[in-house]
Symmetry: C2
Subunit: 348 residues, 2 copies
């Protein structure tokens, strides 16, 4: 299975990304040349999706190291430290960001005896490794997830956890792509995912591009579909998973998990190990980003509510592990009680 | 408690309504001069909310009778029959429409021995009666509902069941207005209510106008608020209630009812008896309107999804009576098992 969409690519000291704020109308690619460019692209959701954020952050650190005027090795590590802090402050929830920034720091420290130029070369190789591992993870997730999908199934997904969220074929959508390739007859129901509409704008775009039968619904329609027995399975991605399986994902995921439980529909999270934060015993320790009120009160610059009103806009919610049927990872499918065992897995 | 907003008013053979498709930006009043005007205004959601639809439909029938060139009494009853069928085909779910059209027909039949001119005069009085009863119902609903509201409560509502949905002060919002008037400290969380955004556009507008503390959320955020114990009670309106308490209301209501059950939060329906359809033993007999796909793919004329995609757009869902803590009506608060008793109540 080859990469479906050129979500991000590293070309001659520039990170090229598809600008996801311009989709689905415009398939526009932009070049990020500095760590500030990467920071701004992540913050403004030009690039989003936990694995893609991680990869972009890694290249952001690399760009900081490459573009800085470095006096000596001490100065290099100061710059690395500063740019890492900066990058880590970009968005608080997706664990992949911190994971990738840490990997870049670890590789630099591990090679601190080498010349700065050589350290940077190793960092670039590490970025490439993170990028390639993510492709491989999505293929493994596809294979494990595909075992759960029977022909005729109608799958609900929320937000975008497809090719646009990774360097590969996605997390939640990866099994869908593989099942379709294996000629299983499937249909995907896509929550539009307010406020930023990643489902309507991004998931519908990439599923349509891949010729997969898909139907757009508003977030508040999923329960009614379940009541009518028109959903067989739910798969979403994750931004951060705690040791006990509590999962931060796009706002609305928790409600779907409760609805799935009520209707006895299996609810799966698909995510690579780079989204697992084993330092957090439970979900209440995961920071939830609050975003600008305008995401709710304006859609594409058009106001949809009265002015000067109170708005609550959490970008994520936390789904308790006990509501999750299983976690589809590159190492297999796990129940939430088994997650702590994954902590021992060699990650890199 | 006086009427807060001039949602509809009958003036010199014209029904004047506030155009709800223009809110919150423009407080614009339009005059409906024919039954076709009324039909179009209901169909395009210029006027909406079950009780308001009923009142408008009654005046629509009156306009048909008043504006027609009537040859004789037989012809009058033919016109009445035709315009009633026409009006009943306007929107399928809100029971108040059929209820009001039937009342106008019943009054005409009851007075069929009189001159046509006199029958029409009785019909006009009946319209006035329906209008005034709705004001009184909303006041009674306010009084009964207010007994459930304690100071400090945070109330979630969905769609708009306020003054804009009735000739009075609303259904779901009526108790809120009375509680606020009695200086109870309350906060209302308002689901934006995709696709047509009645919560964001209408409920926020009227609550703000009434100086009631309110916070706008996307529909998919209600569950997360409940998880955080930030919702004490849910009140919504209803479009049609079956004998067993199954309730058709704006799409998304069912999901909130399931979430409320899961979190053990009381979930109330506030509705006048004119929304109860005792001919339907259960909710599966209530027709659910499917509306234009563009309601989902476009917001205020701006496209938010790829072109030529599948869309599912049910305008209502059915909440089983067993998920509903109580029905706040003008006759008191009832459990779903008690609803059949209301069938015996003199309605008009």
């Amino acid at each position: 299975m080859k990469q479906i969409i050129r979500t991000l690519s590293w070309e001659k000291d520039k990170l090229e990304i598809i600008d996801q704020t311009r989709l689905p109308e415009n398939e526009e690619y932009i070049k990020l040349c500095t760590v500030e460019d990467v920071f701004e692209a992540i913050r403004t959701l030009k690039i989003r999706g936990a694995p893609a954020i991680g990869i972009a952050a890694a290249y952001g650190i690399l760009l900081a190291a490459k573009k800085a005027k470095i006096k000596d090795k001490k100065n290099f590590f100061e710059i690395l430290e500063k740019s890492s802090q900066y990058m880590n402050s970009c968005r608080p929830t997706a664990y992949n960001l911190f994971y990738a920034v840490k990997r870049l720091n670890d590789i630099a420290l591990k090679n601190s005896h080498l010349l700065v130029k050589e350290i940077i070369r190793r960092m670039e190789l590490e970025c490439q490794k993170i990028f390639n591992e993510d492709i491989q993870s999505s293929i493994s997730i596809a294979r494990y997830g595909n075992t759960l999908i029977k022909s005729g199934m109608r799958i609900l997904t929320h937000c975008n956890a497809g090719a646009l969220a990774t360097s590969g074929i996605g997390t939640a959508l990866a099994p869908v792509y593989l099942a379709a390739r294996k000629h299983k007859r499937i249909e995907v129901f896509v929550d539009e995912t307010r406020p930023v509409l990643q489902g309507a704008r991004l998931t519908m775009w990439e599923l349509k591009k891949a010729n997969i039968k898909c139907t757009l619904i508003c977030d508040n329609m999923a329960g009614f579909l379940m009541q009518q027995k028109r959903i067989d399975m739910v798969i979403t991605g994750a931004d951060r998973i705690a040791s006990n399986g509590d999962t931060a994902n796009k706002i609305g995921t928790y409600s779907i998990a409760v609805l799935a439980k009520f209707h006895r529909i299996p609810f799966y999270i698909a995510a690579p190990l780079s989204s697992f934060d084993f330092s957090k015993p439970s979900g209440d320790r995961i920071p939830v980003e609050q975003r600008d009120r305008k995401e709710i009160t304006c859609i594409k610059g058009v106001s949809i509510a009265p002015e000067n009103i109170n708005v609550y806009n959490p970008s994520f919610d936390i789904t308790p592990g006990r509501l999750i049927t299983g976690f589809i990872t590159e190492k297999g499918i796990f129940a939430c009680e088994e997650i702590h065992m994954l902590a021992k897995t060699e990650q890199y």
